[in-house]
């Protein structure tokens, strides 16, 4: 199988330098874009490619760009933010992409900025990625600036740009598309009312595009090889290649580039080598913590936005967390709720007050204090959160609750019946 996004990535080795990246055809897509194509051409290509945002929401990338106010009507500058605030539990794909091939990401960002006719770009990076991701990125940005890919009149065109790195200071909420604007402005990262959407009025009131790193890495390949090719890569309904991730008690946890629409069974059994000896598969969160549990009857569902939507599940970031039979599923959800309760930005009451209560109920399950009726109470609290908050992260917080109550209700009942965690000694 041809590797596209990961073709230059050699884990354990230094990423390609600028010269090495160029020798493999790197930056030729940028050259084609800025010297032979109009920004509108690039937006058209990306629209046709059916590329959807890889940060979790799956919004069509070309559509997001096309929603910018027409450039001619306004002299307001536009901003571009690459979202490298990868804080979704279980997710490490953007780390893999930037650590392994920083120039691919930079090239993708530059072409996308050209397409959006913006001259000011920010790379928003989580603090924990300072080393080595941040250092690798800084070095690559230096090389690209020196080579004239960043700066004024890039490759002899009339377009130029500035790129800034914004190192954050650790808060899950910053990855949300509206909160990231507040964070960049130097404010508490709370969400904003929509509309206006960020493409109309984003950071400092300027039209702003926010794209995930993996999304941007796809762009040079679409420019180089065309939207038809990109669409043909997907195995089911969504387009392109995907950096899937898999972790938990599997033989070979890691990142795997596979066609969009690969099944969980193939990812787990063929690529990750199956479960570690002595462990059985129990459940998976297919795309980071903020998705619904899949059970063993759902392993043939293509992992992509559309197919998972059909079974009322999110695709999320596409990095699967595998739960084995010796790990408590209720305990796993408790761990996730500790995270969400701690990381809730506090703006919306249902999330700020509901999540700590939910977390306390899960602690009762784990510590042998749960009472009959507690599963119903958890369900009711999560129902109050669902759809009653400004941002979508709260929807993600309750996704593992609702799905585990539906598919693994017996686990909850056992905790109540035995007045302890039945899995505690099995680890």
């Amino acid at each position: 199988m041809e590797r596209v996004l990961s073709r230059n990535i050699r884990p354990g080795q230094a990423p390609p330098t600028l010269r090495e990246y160029e020798a493999g055809g790197g930056y030729s897509a940028l050259r084609t874009a800025v010297t032979q194509r109009t920004p509108e051409d690039i937006v058209g290509l990306v629209l046709d490619s059916n590329l959807r945002g890889r940060g979790g929401a799956g919004f069509p990338t070309g559509q997001k760009w096309a929603n910018l106010p027409p450039a001619g009507e306004s002299t307001r500058p536009r901003l571009f933010i690459a979202n490298l605030d990868e804080m979704e539990p279980g997710t490490f794909k953007d780390r893999y992409l930037v650590e392994g091939d920083p120039h691919q990401f930079i090239e993708g960002m530059l072409i996308s900025m050209y397409a959006c006719q913006t001259e000011m770009g920010y790379i928003f990076i989580r603090a924990e990625y300072l080393e080595p991701v941040g250092r690798i990125l800084e070095r690559a940005l230096g090389e690209a600036t020196e080579a004239g890919y960043i700066g004024r009149s890039i490759l002899g065109s009339s377009w130029g740009c500035e790129l800034h790195v914004h190192m954050s200071a650790g808060r899950y909420m910053c990855g949300e598309a509206m909160a990231i604007l507040n964070a960049l402005e130097g404010k508490r990262a709370i969400p904003r009312t929509k509309p206006p959407y960020e493409v109309t009025s984003g950071a400092w009131g300027l039209p702003t595009v926010v794209n995930n790193v993996e999304t941007l890495c796809c762009v040079p390949h679409i420019v180089e090889r065309g939207p038809d090719w990109f669409r043909s890569l997907g195995r089911a309904r969504d387009a392109g290649m995907k950096i899937y991730g898999i972790s938990g008690r599997v033989k070979r946890p890691g990142s795997y580039e596979l066609p969009m629409g690969t099944t969980l069974r193939e990812l787990l059994e063929e690529h990750a080598g199956g479960m570690l000896g002595g462990y059985q598969f129990r459940a998976a969160l297919p795309g980071g913590a903020s998705t619904m549990f899949l059970d063993s009857s759902e392993m043939e569902v293509p992992l992509e936005f559309e197919s998972l939507k059909d079974i009322h599940c999110y695709f999320g970031t596409g990095t699967a967390i595998i739960v084995d039979d010796r790990t408590c599923l209720v305990g796993t959800v408790h761990n996730l709720q500790q995270f969400y309760a701690r990381e809730s930005c506090g703006w919306c009451t249902p999330c700020r007050d509901g999540l700590p209560w939910i977390e306390k109920l899960y602690r009762d399950f784990e510590e042998g204090r749960a009472q009959p009726g507690d599963p119903e109470l958890v369900a009711e609290l999560s129902h109050h959160i669902h759809g009653n908050t400004f941002c979508a992260l709260a929807l993600g917080a309750v996704a593992p609750i609702e799905s585990s109550l539906r598919k693994f209700r017996g686990d909850y009942e056992e905790h109540i019946r035995q007045q302890r965690c039945p899995w505690r000694e099995r680890h």
Partner: protein, 158 residues
């Protein structure tokens, strides 16, 4: 009082930012790089430079997990408590550290060497359990590695 080095680095950050306020996280990071944490006094000095009120700046400072408004040890040990690391034993790793250092999670050792904290998923789930020693990531952590780390005073080998 901010030092000359701190002032110079902060001014550089402000000069490349959209406006002064936008440099508040980088500016607080500068102060932390020099003295480990952001004191009330430093916060007030910073607020003036950033054209914010101290209250506004404190609102931002306390929002972010990795801006420290209390003194921390020379090294900050952060144990990943993401779902995958949790399943792979991060809890017993934390307990081992608590016992070894004689402090609870969130505490600083009496000699001022180490502060122990939990941290959200650090995005290294395929090498869990993971932890961070200051800005450095440590993968596939074992109790033996932790012992070695503490005995060496917080130095992480390459």
């Amino acid at each position: 009082m901010l030092s000359e080095d701190e002032l110079r680095e902060i001014e550089e950050q402000i000069a490349t930012s959209y406006d002064a306020r936008a440099a508040c996280i980088p500016a607080m990071r500068v102060v932390q790089a020099h003295r480990g944490w952001v004191s009330d006094e430093a916060l007030q000095d910073l607020a003036r430079l950033l054209k914010m009120t101290p209250e506004e700046l404190d609102g931002v400072a306390t929002f972010f997990n990795l801006i420290f408004r209390h003194p921390v040890g020379r090294h900050v040990l952060k144990v990943c408590d993401g779902a995958v690391c949790w399943a792979l034993g991060s809890q017993s790793l934390m307990e081992h550290l608590e016992q070894k250092l004689g402090v609870k999670s969130g505490g600083t050792t009496a000699d001022g060497r180490f502060t122990l904290l939990p941290i959200c998923c650090v995005g290294d789930c395929d090498h869990g359990p993971a932890m961070m020693v200051d800005d450095k990531l440590v993968r596939n952590v074992t109790p033996e590695m932790v012992d070695e780390l503490i005995e060496s005073g917080g130095e992480v080998g390459e």
